[in-house]
Symmetry: D2
Subunit: 281 residues, 4 copies
Amino acid sequence: MILKFACPDQRGLVARVTSFLAEHGANILDMAQFTDQLAGWFFLRIHFDASRLDLAPEDLHDRFAGLARGLAAEWRLRPAARLMPTVILVTRERHCLQDLLARCASGELPISIRAVVSNHEQLQPVVERAGCPFVFLPVDPAARPASFEPYRTVFEECAAELVVLARFMQILPPALCRDYAGRIINIHHSFLPAFAGANPYRQAFRRGVKIIGATSHYVTEDLDAGPIIEQEVLRVEHYHTPEDLVRLGRDCERIALSRAVRYHSAGRVLIHGNKTVVFRD
Amino acid sequence: MILKFACPDQRGLVARVTSFLAEHGANILDMAQFTDQLAGWFFLRIHFDASRLDLAPEDLHDRFAGLARGLAAEWRLRPAARLMPTVILVTRERHCLQDLLARCASGELPISIRAVVSNHEQLQPVVERAGCPFVFLPVDPAARPASFEPYRTVFEECAAELVVLARFMQILPPALCRDYAGRIINIHHSFLPAFAGANPYRQAFRRGVKIIGATSHYVTEDLDAGPIIEQEVLRVEHYHTPEDLVRLGRDCERIALSRAVRYHSAGRVLIHGNKTVVFRD
Amino acid sequence: MILKFACPDQRGLVARVTSFLAEHGANILDMAQFTDQLAGWFFLRIHFDASRLDLAPEDLHDRFAGLARGLAAEWRLRPAARLMPTVILVTRERHCLQDLLARCASGELPISIRAVVSNHEQLQPVVERAGCPFVFLPVDPAARPASFEPYRTVFEECAAELVVLARFMQILPPALCRDYAGRIINIHHSFLPAFAGANPYRQAFRRGVKIIGATSHYVTEDLDAGPIIEQEVLRVEHYHTPEDLVRLGRDCERIALSRAVRYHSAGRVLIHGNKTVVFRD
Amino acid sequence: MILKFACPDQRGLVARVTSFLAEHGANILDMAQFTDQLAGWFFLRIHFDASRLDLAPEDLHDRFAGLARGLAAEWRLRPAARLMPTVILVTRERHCLQDLLARCASGELPISIRAVVSNHEQLQPVVERAGCPFVFLPVDPAARPASFEPYRTVFEECAAELVVLARFMQILPPALCRDYAGRIINIHHSFLPAFAGANPYRQAFRRGVKIIGATSHYVTEDLDAGPIIEQEVLRVEHYHTPEDLVRLGRDCERIALSRAVRYHSAGRVLIHGNKTVVFRD
């Protein structure tokens, strides 16, 4: 099982949690811990073998809840093997979508893609060839919040624990961002906070930067300002045109997004305020 | 059109070639030049606009042949827009194949995939869903050279100017390597010359390296020793298992191989001895 | 000798310049060329062997001036071996200064450090131990423009063709920026345009970025907005404190600054508008 | 204080060690843990605040020894603030030496350089200007083991816990390697295991690799084959000469070596067999 755990820091936290697990027969396979001294906050992820527990998983859960309550902790305990139900949103660009589909097929991502939703029909064949359900949900610019109600319905029907904006060129309504806080990942095609907003590659070209990048982050109401999960960069030269930057940047996007999806779905990301703790693997 | 040109170095070569092109109305769009002082060899790639030539392309070709002969040059002149006929060879692993198929679909690679050939049937659905012809050609370990005759036939029928070994786990017969010298690209899953041969990720794990990589190179009779086109690396940590290295290394493989295919098919690679000049874009 | 050359693009430019050089007995050792199709501008750097010219260098210069005038070119011709007279400005931080001094001693930088100027006395021993003249020129916050007149005097007395702000924590007066346009290089300790202004590492920490960087650029009146020469980045993790970022970032600063100094002093940077063409080596 | 700890893996190790520390009033500031599942080995580093211990540090040490004995652990407990006594060995090349001296002066390395020893006199002024003792100890090729006895004497007199070969172009005698196992760090100027032995940049040039590197590792009797601590790489192009590789590679050497020195002196490296666990910071 995987335990994600965060609480105000105090002495002896590692001892208390690991002793609890040891007492009940859990064998720690992988543990990562971080104390943010400045924020006074403690973060823990433990992957443990639950095959020789001395009690049922539900009972472990309940007893752990008692321990956690006393520590004012936010925590989550879930089976390591379960694939995370995921919905992907796309518009017209296919490279991030195809990359996620291929990595899923290769077993690199512990997710189950329940649906791919788009405001355009263009990528329907790509999605269906991969054996995934495709849902076409147009967005009416004159009635944006209403247009997104069907999106919410899909998320709910899929029991989505992760929504991936794989170059989805629409801004989600604030209410949806709030309700799915910490569960929607976007890929922005710049090295944030540089070049937030539209046309980042063109902005990068104009500024004459020597390195471009891409940023995967959780979506918040504040556009392009949510907690960053991963960034990837690439050296460019004076001879690269804006079109070259678009092409080259795709590799940054593919990598920054697929890593974020992997880290999130493997319970490796803990959010605190507007920052993330990422126990990379 | 794209001109690739290499010859023994002498004074005034750039002037002679560019003057020739200027005289005939060619407008240079992109030029890259390199003189290997140690080897005494000159390399040139010119992408020029041929829309206002004062003579037919065939005549330009003939006249240029006269110039080149006097310089003992190896050269090639071909239309910039033509997609290069390509055959891909695979075994069971799909990540490089899927990456090439997706990049083709995204327009990142100026190639036309005429066939995907495999010694296993496993990837047939992947290939056919992408709309490419799949050819199953088993390899008999007891009759290897004979087993590869049908491969050669496919290459010829496809008029292949590029053969890509996308994790093809078989060694090609020497005669085939020779006849297709400079036209077969392999991806080796290590940072060559480290860990040549089998199981490079396991070798890397045992040696405890802190960075792993992948290498794309032209295939020669000498296994894993042909001219290197591109390499890509990735930092790893002590906690990565051999299986992690396999997973992480795939990104190096995808990138090193797809770049090599792009450079080769765009006429950006010039081979000299056992090394390459790569005019990157 | 080294020729830097830039002009509006037209057909046959490479042919004209290289033919001119060939006619006079110059042997091209290294040539780099770039045509900015969008801006319609042509950039050229040629390093040639002038030992067998058929005329004196001054005469070559004069004749080339005639050719260049007809092309409305900006250009410069100078001996390849000459060390560029350089002044370094520092405040209290020593790592960039020490790095430049060490690289000079190792022969990595074709510059001659004529003076190190500072608004603090702290680094005087470091400079003098390295055998360089140290000049202490305090800056009066109440009379900033006047405070910088002695700086200008030092630049003039040193015949400085390059002024390096090696973590100089003062803003130069606009007039000085203008008069030394294209000759003053600054290192900014962020991946510009992200985190311009003060305390970039603290800004980076607050934003929770996963990659930090440093940027070397020409100084203009517009703070942190001049043409970028080089950028270098480094991956950071959630466990890095602001102090860690300062420490780790120093390697980015050392590398981005020393490369910029090398490229500038070797005639490898051509400025066009607010961007640079850098023929890297 | 800093605890380094390694032992055969068993259930509950983290709980036992952290409970012990918590019971005695230690507050964990930073903890890093790793279990090598394949080797069945457990590694731990804890940096804790010892200001409110309920017993003297010596007593903590003694009691911990009892705990460790029962676990068959190798361990070390030492004050976090103490600078590690270090001896640096050099020959003629200065860039790594100067880099280490400058980083020491900047406070980046928690070491105290007790002596710089060389088999040549060339770098004496560099060392003395930095205020370090320089010891000239020539090596007689005809009497190598005897020549190194005075080296050993210096190590002993300096109570060296770290010996750094900063481009020391001599092979240490086997006995010295054994006696200082895990305490001598070398920088090899290639991406090991590629290009072990002499002239690695020339080997790299001949092979036509597209990326070069440097490797810092513990010295063992087996040349260039000891446990790797850190590696750093850099992209190179076809136009780079062997001399360019030497120049560019210096940045890899500086970074790979200075990081290794930092990790070792901060108790961040645990050796197991021929591999290292490095808890990076």
